[in-house]
Amino acid sequence: MTLLLIVLLPLIGSLVPLASARFKRTTIAWLVAILPAIALGVAAYHTTSVFAGNIPTVSLPWVPSLSLDLAFRLDGLSLLFVYLVLGIGLLIILYARYYLSENDSIVRFYGFLMLFMTAMLGIVTSDNLLLLWFFWELTSLSSFLLIGYWSGLSSARKGARMALTVTGAGGLCLLAGILLIGNVVGSFDLTTVLESRDLIQSSPYYMAILLLVLLGAFTKSAQFPFQFWLPHAMAAPTPVSAYLHSATMVKAGVFLLARFYPVLSGTDEWFYIVTLVGLTTLLYGAFFALIKQDLKGVLAFSTISHLGLITLLFGFNTELAAVAAVFHIINHATFKASLFMAAGIVDHECGTRDIRKLNGLWRYMPYTTVLAAVASASMAGVPLLNGFLSKEMFLAQSLDAQMLGGLSWIIPALATLGSILSVAYSLRFIHDVFFNGEPKDLPKTPHEPPRYMRLPIEVLILICVLVGILPAILIEPILTAATAAVVPGEPPQIHLSLWHGFNLPLMMSGIALMGGLMVYIARDHIYRFHRQFKTLNARDSFENMVQKLVKVCQWSIDRFENGSLQRYMFWLLLTAVGFAASGLFQVPRLAGDKVVQPVDSVLIIGGVILCLAAIGTIMTHRKRLISLLFLSVVGMLVSLTFARFSAPDLALTQLAVEVVTIILLMLALFFLPQKTPKESTGGRVLRDLLLAGTFGGVIASLNYAVITRPVDSISRFFIENSVPGGGGHNIVNVILVDFRGFDTLGEITVLGIAGVAIYKLLNRLRLFMPSSDLEGRPWSPERFPVILYSVSQTLLPLALLVSAFIFLRGHNLPGGGFIAGLVAAVAIILIYMARGVEWSQRRLSFNYQPIAVTGVAIAALTGLGSWIFNAPFLTSSFGHFEIPVIGDIELATALLFDLGVYLTVIGATLMILANLGKVTTSHRPTKEKQ
């Protein structure tokens, strides 16, 4: 379980700076360092066991159905990386304390740094591939935050975004690869996967897996052609660069190569892809490292180059090459971290990183010069330093690569070329900065940095030197352990020593050193050669590309979603008609088995008028009032149709609703343009007609097909139970208030909400009001015709009486709360029309909203009442009571429910109509005397 601590402690550590924000910076640094230090101790604690060949693991279930476990392992490779990540991490913590200025939030920095450290540790210790991916993406995220730390700088923001995009994309590929592996192996358990080499390599997915995993690795470790993000990540503070580009971020990519080496390597595909990419990257990085004028840029490209080297080594498919790769991982981490820190000091003390300005610094900071020189020498592969050892191994392995057949000599040749360039840029780093004359207009006068800022570099340089001199003692055990995890089967015998005798690799090293010196001397020719080409700034072109992509996306989205309801509606209807038609095509014969009923002349006339009225509505739709008149004819005839086919309730309802709708539309018409301009093009009209016609045809066919087919329906139950179960003779009404009372409750809720919603819509509504009608005629001065209001006041009590009548009989005969409510509401609206809002409002002392709400509440409470009798919501009861004189009367809870409906309808309808009227009255443009 202690293994968990290695990841957990830094994770907790990411909260430490937040918690200790109020302390001094040095204190914060120390506090932050504590937890990773303990984690390092935990790793040390396991070291002997790991060296003995054990692999400590721990596994906690997390998402079993995804086979995602919190599983960690500490094999040799993991251990090596844990040391690198934590060790260099601790040095960075110290270094950053001095590097960051007072204006930079150290809390934020340490928080992000620790988060990043956690992610790195997670990657290297995960024993579950999905978990590994989790941490993998977490490094992308946290590095985004770190690179963008100086968020005020445009370069930092762009660099961070680019890094996130590239590595994030790679991470997604890795996920796909991992999922494929899991699919092939049947497990995400790393131990199992590592044992499934044959299974994976023989699976048809091998190529896909290989490509996806390599994409993940290459993007992360900045391999060609994904190298471009790395130099721009230099916008980060130098401690970040030192950490990300020596021991961590980019090393995650090569770690992945090492991790999957046992299962993916050994094939030709692996060799060609990895070698080619590695070699290209090696040379590309080396060349540009020579050219860059930015101190950190040089280091960035050298990092790319060295990562290419490591990749190349992994590509060789030999065990010793893998050993060399792992070894170079360590060496590169140490010297590159120290070089970055040295560059940071220079930057920090001089205020610039421009190599053209930086000259002769050794006079100002001799101690730093020495440290940087040693690190550079290691990078160049100078003997007695660790870089020499792995470089030598690399050259030796390049000679062994035979896969290219007759062209195999190319690899050692290019490897030597890479080494030459490496020497050249290392020389340049030292000579151009610390020697080579006097500094040119530096912003600051440089001097040695604070003592503790140098300490981390000293530690690393010490390691470089010691490893370089005493490799067998210092590095062999861990290298052996790490290699054991990388190379399948028996680990190769590693013999690290400074002197292997005179051999070809040594000669190549010599050529590299000499060649490097010569190239450096002749560097001006190279610069001149390079200046012929237009330099491309990867960041800007990436940014431009993204901008262009965004523009293209915006353009296409604007094209697609052009804000046109007409288009959206068209798509909706087209989809619907297409779907319905596709179903209809499956119907063998449209006509069903039912006997068709005869048709009579009344029906024909009615049907023809109905169709003509509908067509009239669309023919006249630009003259809106006429269109409305046709619509009202349609409504009336639909109502007659309901009546004709034995649905008196429906006829009544349709009629009432139709009239209210017409009133509503008339109200609206006043505020809308009274005419529709002719806008649609002929093509549009034709298209719409075609769609409408097809739709109509499909609906008609569906309708015909269904009504000519017999069906066995549940309706019999309602017919049989209406009286005994629901206590009403009007089956439709009993369905509404009892069998399906819940629907009705929902329905009146809709009505109530509509009322409230409309009230809401009318709030602060600004309206256009025509002062004349369509022909420019002023409105009639007579606001309220006498005859009209005399009659309407007579009609009101009569209508209310009818309303009461319709309400009370609804349960047994056509009628019911809804129709009754509409009748009452319409009668009141008539008063409003006849006498105006002001007059009517004075006489109506109540608000409509509470009426509607009360209505719904009554219905709902009626339903709730059944709980008292331990019956489900809305259970009805009824009874017949014998009352003297009056006789038998029936009382049913359904009637109470219907009362709720009644009140809701009145309240909601009046809320809609009367409120609408009210809103407009005060705004009438011209008022005239009555």
Partner: protein, 165 residues
């Protein structure tokens, strides 16, 4: 607005409502009668605020006679119109007549204009409130004066008696 001082502010209306209720129910059972009375009293009280003060029917019998006469006239009116509609050779002679009112009560005027519209060949076209006249459109009329006299004698005078105004 009619003040609701009395239990039954408008007895005639109450009577009308009771009758209508019973007609609607089509039954004279005790329950229905009780309900009719309840509604007949409740509804006017509920709606009195929407009423202008208006004349009560002073002489109900005259009203009944008026209604019967009206029904007769409607039938005649239809006969007249039918003749005009169906005979292609007869060209109607339309006439706009201004009828001077001698009543001022809006309700009574409404009844009168309705009557005019329902009866032979005439439609009340416009009630000119400020002039105290009704514009009448006659479908086929020779003599303006005759029409005015007829309307006064047949309808307006009885109405004045009925409503006592």
């Amino acid at each position: 607005m009619i003040p609701a001082t009395r239990l039954i502010p408008t007895p005639f209306l109450t009577l009308l409502l009771v009758a209508v209720w019973l007609m609607l129910q089509n039954s004279l059972s005790p329950g229905n009668i009780i309900m009719a009375v309840i509604l007949g009293i409740a509804l006017p009280r509920l709606t009195y605020r929407f009423w202008d003060r208006q004349p009560d029917v002073q002489r109900p019998w005259l009203l009944i006679r008026y209604i019967l006469r009206l029904i007769g006239d409607i039938i005649v009116a239809n006969y007249e119109v039918s003749k005009l509609v169906l005979s292609p050779w007869h060209k109607p002679k339309p006439y706009f007549v201004v009828y001077p009112l001698s009543m001022t009560d809006h309700f009574a005027i409404t009844v009168l204009t309705s009557t005019i519209s329902l009866t032979p060949g005439t439609i009340s076209a416009h009630f000119r409130l400020h002039e105290g006249t009704v514009l009448i459109h006659a479908l086929d009329l020779e003599d303006e004066e005759a029409l005015i006299n007829e309307i006064y004698e047949r309808y307006e005078k009885p109405l004045k008696e009925i409503f006592g105004c």
